[in-house]
Symmetry: C2
């Protein structure tokens, strides 16, 4: 497992470990999730403007449903929340086959592996149906993937990122969260680590900065081009 090996290149005590969000950060799935939530809400007789759904993507499904309920001005029962989440998962299946890695995502992960920088994935999503996209990302089997199922609370609670750092056996203070949503960045701050924002989930630059991003890049390809700005030295 070269990924885990502490090698000389790029793994000084100053090189951070990377904790990646998945949707909107490594894979281009945010807008399909948005539309799937919209359909699920509509089928349940609930109506909410689509941009408000967009701004809630990336938090835990349970929290998202509660937040949407608050915006509609209706209390959502536990049963309804579960039904909505089930319905969303069902509708999303229609889009799942077309989800692709974001530009540069496979290359970014391959490069980090090559220079022996540790990384893990931490997602508010569930593990169902992720095999194909992990394959497209070229995700090596030894890379830890922490999902909603493995923690008590998903983002913006810090649990997912804390668990991801623990899975790499690194201190959270040495980790950097990479995410596309304000929920990733708020969770990073609560966890006590730096956060890098990506525009590829459809948030604006300033929204991510206001949520605490210390750098913002367009997408994984842009982050790969600027890794030297966030503490990763090249091989030369």
């Amino acid at each position: 497992m070269p990924q885990r090996k502490r090698a000389s290149i790029g793994d000084s005590s100053h090189t951070p470990a990377f904790l990646f969000d998945l949707d909107g950060t490594l894979i281009d799935s945010v807008y399909q999730h948005v539309i799937a939530w919209r359909e699920a809400l509509e089928e349940t007789g609930l109506s909410l403007a689509v941009w408000r759904i967009h701004r809630r993507i990336g938090m835990s499904g349970g929290l998202l449903v509660q937040a949407l309920g608050r915006e509609i001005g209706r209390k959502i029962t536990k049963k309804q929340a579960q039904e909505l989440q089930d319905r969303h998962a069902e509708v999303f299946k229609r889009y799942r086959g077309k989800i692709e890695p974001l530009p540069g995502a496979p290359e970014l992960l391959a490069y980090l592996s090559k220079v022996n920088v540790l990384y893990a994935i931490a997602t508010s999503g569930t593990p169902e149906g992720t095999d194909k996209v992990f394959q497209a990302l070229g995700l090596r089997p030894e890379i830890p993937v922490i999902t909603r199922r493995q923690v008590e609370r998903a983002k913006p609670d810090p649990d997912l990122f804390l668990a991801a750092a623990a899975s790499l056996n690194v201190s959270i203070a040495k980790a950097v969260v990479v995410g596309d949503s304000v929920w990733d960045l708020l969770a990073a701050r609560r966890a006590g680590c730096l956060g890098i924002g990506l525009l590829s989930g459809g948030y604006g630059r300033e929204e991510l900065q206001e949520a605490g991003a210390y750098r913002v890049y367009q997408d994984p390809a842009d982050l790969l081009l600027h890794l030297d700005e966030v503490g990763v030295r090249g091989t030369d």
Copy 2:
């Protein structure tokens, strides 16, 4: 036509006329357009991250296709551009039936009519299939609707808004553009009038401010609550 009548309430020489964008401003259709473009591109063998499509919505279809081509790094021929636009229109039909007015949009238009403030609609879209949503908006038949077909160049060129102001017989300098995208706000500046941004198309507040919005509200409902801030006096 009470809409056109220059009445005493709300129609002093300081009361602006409103030129509304349609998609993302009065109706909740931006994300469905985004997904439809994504599908159209995919079917043509072109791949582009969805957030980049989102940030191009609201400009003319022709410009959008050229801009997307540039981002993909491919020259799109005129024929391909037309095919893409046709394909987008075809895919969008699947979503059109579910498009609803944004919260507060019918109420905002009804209020402006009530206090005799002039307004028109200026959209980069085409008029096909808009009947149902205009009905849902309660749009009175005397309200001018300027579409892509009626001008040489769509947004971010100023033509649509200039034509809309002309249709109301008001000076563009006395008009205020209301839009959800930076293209509306850039077109407003080129036309020489103020622009109000709405978050309901999924842009961030600062993106709209940077493009020149002098006020930003959440959606039509929020604008209706703050009309006094943009030069419309109430009835009391």
